[in-house]
Symmetry: C2
Subunit: 198 residues, 2 copies
Amino acid sequence: MKTKKTYHHGNLREVLLNAALEILDSSGVEAVSIRAIARMANVSHAAPANHFADRRALLTAISVLIFKQLATTIDTALASGPAARKKRIKVFADSLLEFGLNYPHRYKLMWRRDLLDDDDLELQQTMDGIYAALLAELSSNSFPSNYSSDTFAIALWSLVHGYVSMRLDGNFEARQDEISGQPRHHAMLDLFLQVVDC
Amino acid sequence: MKTKKTYHHGNLREVLLNAALEILDSSGVEAVSIRAIARMANVSHAAPANHFADRRALLTAISVLIFKQLATTIDTALASGPAARKKRIKVFADSLLEFGLNYPHRYKLMWRRDLLDDDDLELQQTMDGIYAALLAELSSNSFPSNYSSDTFAIALWSLVHGYVSMRLDGNFEARQDEISGQPRHHAMLDLFLQVVDC
DNA sequence: AACATAATGTTGACGGTGACAATATTGACT
DNA sequence: AGTCAATATTGTCACCGTCAACATTATGTT
C-alpha cells in the first residue's frame, strides 16, 4: 500500500519542471502553481520550496529551458539554411514565428517579465545569445543608409513578436490570417523584407 | 461615528471602475482584485458582484473604457493631422505607440484576452472600429502590388504592437531604445514605411 | 563505524483571493 | 400600503503562495 518508495525523491527538481511544462502547455501559465506540480509529483505542497525559492523562481527556470529550446531551434535552422543574407534573415524570422505558433503558452511565458526574475543571469545570457544570432546575420551595408542593423533587428523582431502575440491572444480572425491560401505571415515578412532591396 | 451615509451606495459601479483604473495604472492588472476595489470604495467584499459578474467581467468593462479612450485619441490625432496618406499612416502608428508608452498597464490589459470576455460585443465593436480606422487610411494602390491593405495593416499593427510590448515588458535595453538622440521607434517606423515607396 | 551537518520532505498555519449562498436593507412601482 | 427587484452584508469554501516547525535521509569527516 506504500505508494512512495523513498522519503527523498531523488530527482524532484527535474520531475517538477516536467510537470510544470506539461501544465503550461495544456492550461497556460496561470495554472502552473507550486501546489499543482507538487500534487503531480506525488509530493507535499511545500516540497518544491527546496528547489525553487518561490513561484517566480520556478517560472524563471522554465523560461530558461524554453529560451534554450528556441535558441537550438534557430541555430539548427540557420545551420542548414541558405547562404543568401536576405534568405537567412527570413529563416530566422520564420523560426521564431513558428516556434511561437507551435508552443503558444511557452512563447507567451517567455515574455512575461512580470512573472520572471529579471536578474537571472542564465536567462539574460540565453536571450542575448539569440539576439546576437540575429545581429550576426545583418551587416549595415545591406540596408538603406541611415538605418543601423540594430534598428533593423528591433524592427524585424517587433514585427514577428507583434504578429505572434496577436495571433496567440486571438486578436486576428482566422479569415484574416490567410491570403491566397498562404499564411498571412509569409506575405507580411516578404513585404517587410522589401526594405532590404530599397 | 457612522462612516457610511447610506446602505445603498448610489453609483457604486462607476466608483469601482475608477478604483480599478487607479490600481491598474499604479500596480498593474495583477493587483486589480474584486476585494481591493471593494475596500477602496468602502464597501463589503461581495458588493461588486452586483455590478460585475466576476473578475473577468470587471476587467472587460475596464478594457472597453480603455479601447474607447484609444479610439478617441487616434480619431483626434487623425482629424487634425496631415493630408498625405503616408503621413496619416504614421500619425496612426504614432498614436497607437505613444498610447502604449504613456499608459503601460492599460495597454497591456487591452491585449490580455485570457483575462477578458471574448464574447463581449462592446469590446469587439470598439476594437473593430479602431482597425477600420486604420484600413480607411489605406488603399490598395498605395503599396507594392501583391500585397493587400489587410496585409499591410496587420504588418504595421504587428510592428507597433511588438515594439510597444517589448518595451513595456522591459525587453529592450535603454541604450537600444535611442539612436542619434531620437527614440528608436521613429527610425523604425520610417524604415518600415519605405515599402510604401517601393 | 559514529557522528554531525546539510539536504530534502512533511505537516500545519496564515492571509489573500474569487466565488457562492443566505440574509438584510432599500428603492421603485402598483 | 404592499410587493418585488435591486443592491449591500456576512459568512463560508477551496485554492493559492509563503513561512515555520519538525521529520527523515544523504553526505562527509573524524
